[in-house]
């Protein structure tokens, strides 16, 4: 069967073809659709692996480890930021190794298309001593995912499977059976505290030695596979070394160059020293094509140095290629031209002004109501907006950083808003410090800093914007999602009970579309002392829309509108835009976009806005 699939989907079907027994992950662009596809598959097929969105990436990795340590095949999925969350366990498990095939899928994002640091997770393969595979296209992803499980079992180590956005989101045709190949296995776990615990320095140092042995055993496996293609031309002066998606561009451009050797890697860690040695000896220069950090470049530079070879290594460290960003054909073409002294870098691009479409909440989004209410409450409580520091957090809720709200001041990592707020509050500002965080982010990593706040008697206002879903990444279910909407009989965890159990000084649930009451509650909480938590609860407009209609929309009486723009200034709703009405400009509401939240209605002093019907 042939289908057009993305790299993420190919990874999902590769894992299914390998008979994966358990899949756990946390959503994060650009990795999300791998697990989403397995969920979809399991909802349509009786015969499917256990698959879950876990509370956070560390939990996902731990759950997967339990399965792998039972001799089962396990897959954990996350983006690079999630790898950081899971890293504590990843390091520990790397030292212990695995019995069942264990694949850790991490997606990196060169060019930061989805925001967050331009982190290179390949360094984690070095840090944790994990074998790593980096497919460069859909077909390779499908095949190498299956191979990754075999490699993991053969070596006894978890295998890092790393994609970049261009691969995980890139789509192409795949010929496969798109089926689940269940392997009948009995769970087993031999109790062995020297392997599965860390208590005792001897245990740990021995495990370190084991880890290095496992890593060493990879080289032979790589050499006997077709994963790394060494095309060495005798007498060639230049050799181009690339990995993952860079291989595709090399394949595209290299035919135009005569007599250049090439090495295209998909098994990238550990580096195959044995096969690289003659190549380092026989070429005048090597051009290394890799996005983000000079991982391969450093390894080859150090090998050349250790062997006392004069080969010139061109890459990032000598300035041949840019140090940051995603590489395009353009970068590779000019590097090839520079390294080979032939060909040209291509025409200079046309330049143009950059216009920015500021991103904002969807129309009808409850977060719009919460930030509107916060802005109004700050005023009502007698503070100035410029004096009230608001720490934001990851997810849709961070869009409160943009106009017209201009609420959030900072964004660090999952759950960090609550800890950060405590540090700001302890620094002596005499105005309140507020943290805003979404529901999924709160469950993920918001609870420990809240516990800290209570224990340390912090003085902060935490606003949890609870829309019931993990929306930013595509509306995944989370622990707080309505029980009736939880798949497969899963349960809902009560956020309210959790927060109250922690012992916060003040707790209240508000409704973001009931502006008067929300403003009242927020203004009161701003003036209080201690740990105050307000949960602003209303379902995500887009998930709600899938199940029920919003009823008649709002509209603007063009006679009455004075074009004061207050509705737009306060709500910023995307359904509002100026139109020409006879001689004058007035505001209007796009009926296709209005989701009847009524927020704009609360802004108009001229009674121009009303609900239809």
């Amino acid at each position: 069967m042939k289908r057009i699939v993305s790299g993420n989907q190919a990874l999902a079907y590769g894992a299914l073809a390998a008979g994966v027994d358990l899949v756990a992950g946390y959503p994060g662009t650009p990795s999300t659709e791998a697990l989403t596809e397995i969920i979809r598959f399991s909802s349509e097929n009786e015969n499917a692996p256990w698959v879950e969105w876990s509370t956070n990436e560390k939990v996902a990795f731990d759950v997967a480890t339990g399965a792998a340590w039972s001799g089962k095949r396990a897959l954990a999925t996350m983006k690079m930021s999630g790898l950081n969350v899971a890293l504590d366990s990843v390091m520990s498990v790397a030292y212990s190794g695995t019995t069942g095939g264990f694949v850790l899928y991490v997606a990196d994002d060169p060019g930061a298309e989805a925001g967050m640091p331009e982190q290179d997770s390949r360094l984690c393969a070095d840090l944790a001593g994990l074998p790593m595979l980096e497919p460069g296209n859909v077909l390779e992803t499908y095949e190498l995912t299956q191979k990754a499980f075999e490699l993991s079992e053969k070596v006894g180590a978890p295998v890092l499977l790393r994609l970049v956005t261009s691969v995980s989101h890139g789509e192409a045709e795949l010929e496969a059976d798109f089926a689940y190949h269940l392997r009948e296995t009995t769970p087993y776990h031999n109790r062995d505290i020297t392997r599965y615990t860390k208590a005792g320095s001897k245990i740990c140092v021995d495990q370190h030695a084991d880890l290095l042995k496992r890593l060493d055993s990879c080289e032979e496996i790589y050499e006997s596979s077709s994963w790394n293609r060494f095309e060495i031309l005798s007498g060639a002066a230049l050799c181009v070394v690339s990995s993952g998606v860079m291989n595709e561009y090399v394949g595209e451009l290299l035919p135009a160059y005569s007599h250049v050797s090439s090495v295209r890697l998909t098994a990238t860690w550990p580096v195959e020293k044995k096969r690289f040695l003659p190549l380092l000896r026989d070429h005048e220069s090597l051009l290394i094509l890799e996005e983000l950090e000079p991982v391969l470049e450093k390894a080859l530079r150090s090998q050349a140095q250790a062997e006392g070879l004069p080969v010139k290594i061109l890459g990032k460290m000598d300035g041949t290629l840019p140090r940051t960003g995603r590489y395009g054909l353009k970068d590779i073409r000019s590097a090839l031209a520079a390294a080979s002294g032939t060909g040209d870098a291509g025409p200079a691009p046309a330049s143009a002004t950059a216009y920015r479409h500021t991103i904002t909440f969807c129309s009808g989004c409850p977060h719009r109501g919460t930030y509107m209410a916060l802005n109004r409450a700050i005023k009502k409580a007698g503070f100035k907006k410029k004096d009230v520091l608001v720490t934001g957090d990851i997810g849709c809720t961070i869009l409160g950083m943009n106009g017209p709200f201009d609420s959030c001041w900072t964004e660090v990592s999952m759950g960090s808003s609550i800890g950060l707020a405590q540090g700001f509050a302890r620094s002596g500002f005499d105005t309140p410090v507020v943290a805003t965080i979404g529901d999924s982010t709160f469950f993920h990593a918001g609870l420990p800093p809240l516990i800290n706040a209570v224990q340390q008697r912090a003085d902060i206002l935490v606003i949890i914007l609870d829309n019931g879903w993990t929306s930013m990444t595509g509306f995944q279910v989370n622990p707080g999602t309505e029980e009736s909407l939880q798949p497969g009989g899963r349960r809902r965890v009560s956020m309210d009970a959790l927060i109250q159990a922690v012992g916060v000084d003040y707790f209240e649930v508000i409704k973001p579309f009931d502006q008067d009451a929300a403003v009242e509650a927020l203004a009161g909480a701003l003036r209080m002392k201690g740990v105050r938590v307000l949960v602003s609860r209303e379902e995500c407009a887009l998930t709600r829309e899938r199940r029920k209609s919003f009823g008649p929309g709002y509209s603007i009486d063009q006679e009455k509108c004075t074009f004061c723009k207050m509705c737009l200034r306060e709500s910023g709703c995307t359904a509002l835009s100026p139109v020409q009405y006879g001689e004058k400009t007035v505001m209007s509401i796009d009926p296709d976009l209005c989701r009847s939240c009524g927020l704009c209605f609360t802004c108009c002093k001229f009674g121009a806005i009303s609900r239809e019907g």
Partner: protein, 188 residues
């Protein structure tokens, strides 16, 4: 032959839909195709791009992304994003753009200027082969613009068949918009 189509716009304009249709059409016509959408913030009014690359040589390797000066065609649904994408067009390439700009609320409030059709032409004219402006007069606009594009795209033969096969919702309406686009008069 290796060619590239770059599509751009903002969330909600159906850029991804027409890119998927073009990709499926090329696939059905026997080309080797890659497609990548960048829709990170689409739902929230942000920039959307789709990049299609295709070759009649199915064994030919090529990377998935279009780099500057690499697009034979650009389809622009929003003029700000069209201007932002100018560097992608090959000299002598074709631009089909919709005369429409989504103004973010902050732009309305701060009176920021956003490009009009004149600016699009000023930016593209010096190096563009076919420069085609489309007035958004027929809905759904994405299918209408696709129809206009089909006139300038040699691979459009039997595109209609793909559309009838792949469209699942409001098929008649979509096909009508596509036909109106094909018949659209432009002063190219």
């Amino acid at each position: 032959m290796l060619k590239s189509v770059f599509l751009t716009g903002v969330g909600g304009q159906g850029v991804v839909t027409i890119a998927n249709l073009l990709s499926a059409h090329l696939q059905d016509s026997g080309y080797k195709v890659t497609l990548i959408h960048a829709t990170g913030m689409a739902q929230r009014g942000g920039r959307v791009t789709s990049e299609i690359r295709y070759s009649d040589d199915r064994d030919r390797p090529f990377g998935p992304r279009i780099s500057s000066g690499g697009a034979d065609y650009i389809i622009g649904m929003d003029m700000a994003e069209t201007v932002n994408s100018a560097s992608f067009l090959k000299a002598g390439g074709t631009l089909v753009f919709q005369n429409y700009t989504l103004l973010p609320s902050t732009a309305v409030l701060n009176k920021e200027s956003f490009p009009d059709a004149e600016e699009v032409k000023r930016v593209f004219a010096p190096f563009t082969g076919n420069l085609v402006e489309v007035e958004p007069s027929v809905r759904p606009v994405n299918m209408f613009v696709l129809g206009v594009f089909a006139r300038y795209w040699p691979e459009a033969e039997r595109l209609e068949e793909t559309l009838s096969k792949k469209l699942t919702k409001r098929v008649e309406e979509n096909l009508t918009a596509f036909h109106r686009g094909r018949d659209y008069r432009t002063e190219a």
